[in-house]
Assembly symmetry: C2
DNA sequence: CAGGATCCGACACGATACTG
DNA sequence: CAGTATCGTGTCGGATCCTG
């Protein structure tokens, strides 16, 4: 193994998430409620917006578009546009986007691992 | 290895992040801009609020308090209060909180791995 | 030192309607 | 079908002041 950039070493060099470190920017990505969900929905390959909306469920058309645009700007997805009669568009994960699946999955696994503990969060509202 | 709950199997059972699944609640945790940072700052052991604020840097007193309260309700931290002359308080990660360090680290590592790609996000504002 | 109470601003989201 | 525009809203965060 050469000096390939796995990122692990660089990250460990930092103590907490410094305000100027890349990791903070990454957390801001997660700060979007839907962005991780959209990324996860794209894990099996390119999808069209409508298909995405149906697959995810509960997300508004505009919100999905907003997130896709942000993801595109962040370099997480590539937007493929096909000039056809009915305008067809497909979104595909970039390499960065695919690598993001791991952290997202880690969060998901963690969630199920402590599902019982986290139930308390929802149980907040008794009425 | 018995049927220990690693959470991995349960999570894989789901396709996308369903609206009612625990993973969505977990993502809502990350949706807080500071929460993961606070959790990460606590990785080495219990800390006092003031110490936390200094360590993290750039976080407001109230915001830190809000996040700590939310984390406490979510079962991520335990608040230890010592009835002394100068009121002393310490926050300590629960088991769920400690396990959350892994996903957070995963995001951090990912960030450095694709730091160059993510630079585009910041470079949005030329002025 | 810990933390609550407030007012305010930013931003993502929800909902609707409208253009290629 | 894909995307934009607009408006309203909720929530987190920033800033300030005040209480044990």
């Amino acid at each position: 193994m050469t000096v390939e950039s796995t990122g692990a070493v660089e990250f460990e060099a930092y103590g907490p998430f410094a305000a100027d470190c890349p990791a903070r920017a990454a957390l801001d990505l997660f700060a979007s409620r839907w962005l991780p969900v959209v990324v996860w929905a794209l894990r099996n390959g390119p999808m069209r917006p409508g298909e995405l909306q149906r697959t995810i469920g509960g997300i508004r058309h505009k919100v999905l578009t907003d997130n896709l645009r942000r993801m595109e700007n962040a370099g997480l997805v590539i937007r493929r546009r096909y000039a056809e009669a009915p305008p067809r568009v497909q979104y595909e994960l970039t390499e960065a986007g695919q690598d993001l699946l791991e952290p997202i999955q880690a969060v998901g696994v963690w969630a199920y691992r402590h599902a019982t503990t986290l139930q308390a969060m929802h149980a907040e509202e008794p009425d």
